[in-house]
Subunit: 287 residues, 3 copies
């Protein structure tokens, strides 16, 4: 799960919306049994899960296919997990993670599922306890491959208020990306619930990217397009990085310690950043 | 201590200011034996404490009555505590908390006091060690019911400088509210020492509220009025929340999973926020 | 190492730049064997280290003389350390500190060196693991006397992007200064790599100072001048603090608890700040 620029959620009880997944270019698709599916529909959504997944798998799908179960403390979680593991998915999304034990519980369930390919957990950090525990739970089980930060739930939990500038969640958002990345996980930034406001989405994604997030929760296809673009390196940047790496490689072959390239000092951080950009561009086929 | 929008401090050696408490609408009143009372007057302030408290208790008082003792490491703290527990107060304010042991020390003292109603500790986090220890000390003793963040003392301790925007304390201020709220305590935001600058107070209280603080330290009656207004839900918001909860309740009785209300998706965070707003409005008698 | 307003780095393989140290007024000078010295030149730089240090010591040098070794996980670090301890330096700079064990490793090496004066470690916190471990490693060994925050390396490590406003590193930068200061260490703020942009340097240093940093990494002599000025107290501030302390002292001798001075309440934080400013001014000879 190295490339998670866009994580698109759709309600598990709305098959017509799930059927649109193959026409969307998200890096991961989430069938949402939690907040997206009203209480009264949860059971039916579970019952039809395997069938809709088979339907989706019959077509080419451009990203991972995941199921979001209800939160670890809810009464639904065991039934959700059973339904999810009975379908041909790539992994689960677990909202409101708060402890390492929860991570290990879901990890053990995935391990018992014995698939031909490893199943992944994408964990949601969206409560006070989750934010506080993020640095420890991030490394609790190898199935955990990504964390997302849920700003709306977090601010409700702490009793605050969201603002466009987002300073009220800067501490939590920074702690989550640090916890995720330090444990080698992908980090997925908060949703933008103002779904018609593209400027807001762009600004928010820009902040997320600066902080170190590699992608964003998306609530509709247009946000997926924006996220894919905003979390991909710009063509000029990719080109610069490739020229730089080539020059550094040539210099190394001649046994010289490269110093300068196109007017900039080449140091270790610059080379490391260039390698990361080029690797990402290779994976997404960008020039 | 669920409602602490305004925590008004007045010097323990100025009875004429303390006598004004009954005319002020603060959620809590603090007779300050620490910074508010000069060294030379501390002993006299302690000696007259029980009498002034009796005088205040003879009148209706709109909020909790507390005594701020000197910091746990000072030479005054035992005498302060004895004087405070000899008066008819609701609890103590302990400045510059830095360890769980300190919290337990004061908790044990309050437990020994054996009052008919439980006594509370409001703890001050206003030093580097306090900020670092806040996540652990917040849960150290059940008498601890609230934490306040003291930005001025904190910035002095770390050797920084205060600014109106407050980015220099955002990390500490965020960590304290998170520590407090995660432990189920009330969280009280920093003082505004520019006592004539209402705009500054409003802006600063707005930030505090966004972060999750439920009230503010107040240095004079006008700040109490502002804090009470700023930390109460707006009438339109209360009305919206009540309509929303009514609609959700009706839908639940009909067995339908509510989806939309006045053009907004109803999800779990929204319902939880609405319930909190309505509960707060009920307590303060707001419409 | 109480006064570290400016920490000037120069490449260990460029003797002509090192020879300029005596003409510069930095509080500390760093001969950089890490990023500043290309791989191919590291061995030669080590070989000539003692000689260049002797040359520098033959002249009056206005600050500490330090050597930055390569990071603890590199293949160079033992040879660097041997070379550094074979020269007449005041201590070492260790980049990319991530664990308490690393701090103790370098502390033990300095202890074995048995100099007539104690040698110091200035540690660099410039990775995700370093930021997370900063609160514990800061107190791991008494030789550690200062920490600097390396924003460029940190943001590369986490995969983010630097901006002029710096919100993307506010959490990390705040955590490092808190860890350092709480352990009684000097705290040195991030470099500004836009070396021709004085406004950027001034703004960035201002933020650092507000956060509690006492100085800045400097990449060229002009930045040293700016840092020395920006991290010294202003003359009017020094004068105010000296008047205040004198008044407070006189009042104390008369046995009165001072209350007001030049229209301001005198409280404990104000007095503490005044003492710190006056002490700093004394050390740097400011009026």
């Amino acid at each position: 799960m190295e490339l998670l620029r866009s994580l698109l959620f759709a309600p598990g009880n709305q098959p017509e919306r799930l059927r649109k997944f193959p026409r969307i270019d998200a890096d991961a698709f989430v069938i949402d049994l939690e907040d997206g599916t009203p209480e009264a529909d949860k059971s039916a959504a579970r019952a039809q899960l395997a069938a809709i997944v088979d339907e989706l798998r019959a077509q080419p799908l451009g990203g991972y296919l995941l199921v979001r179960v209800n939160d670890p403390q809810s009464a639904h979680v065991e039934a959700d997990l059973e339904a999810a593991l009975g379908a041909d998915i790539d992994g689960i999304v677990v909202p409101k993670l708060e402890t390492s034990d929860q991570v290990r519980y879901f990890g053990a369930a995935l391990a018992r599922a014995r698939r031909d390919r490893p199943l992944a957990i994408v964990g949601g950090i969206e409560s006070m306890r989750g934010v506080m525990a993020a640095p420890t739970l991030a490394g609790a089980d190898p199935h955990l491959r990504a964390l997302y930060f849920g700003a709306e739930d977090y601010i409700t939990d702490i009793g605050g208020q969201r603002t466009p500038a987002g300073l009220e969640v800067l501490y939590a958002r920074s702690q989550v990306v640090l916890a995720a990345r330090a444990a080698g996980l992908a980090a997925i930034d908060q949703a933008v619930v103002e779904i018609r406001d593209e400027t807001r989405f762009r600004d928010d994604a820009g902040q997320g990217r600066q902080l170190g997030y590699g992608g964003k929760i998306c609530l509709l296809p247009r946000q997926v397009e924006l996220a894919n673009a905003l979390f991909s390196p710009a063509p000029a940047q990719v080109a610069f990085c490739r020229r730089l790496l080539e020059a550094a490689g040539a210099a190394a072959r001649q046994g010289s310690g490269v110093v300068e390239f196109e007017g900039r000092m080449i140091d270790a951080p610059l080379l490391k950043r260039a390698r990361a950009v080029a690797a990402l561009a290779d994976r997404i086929g960008a020039d």
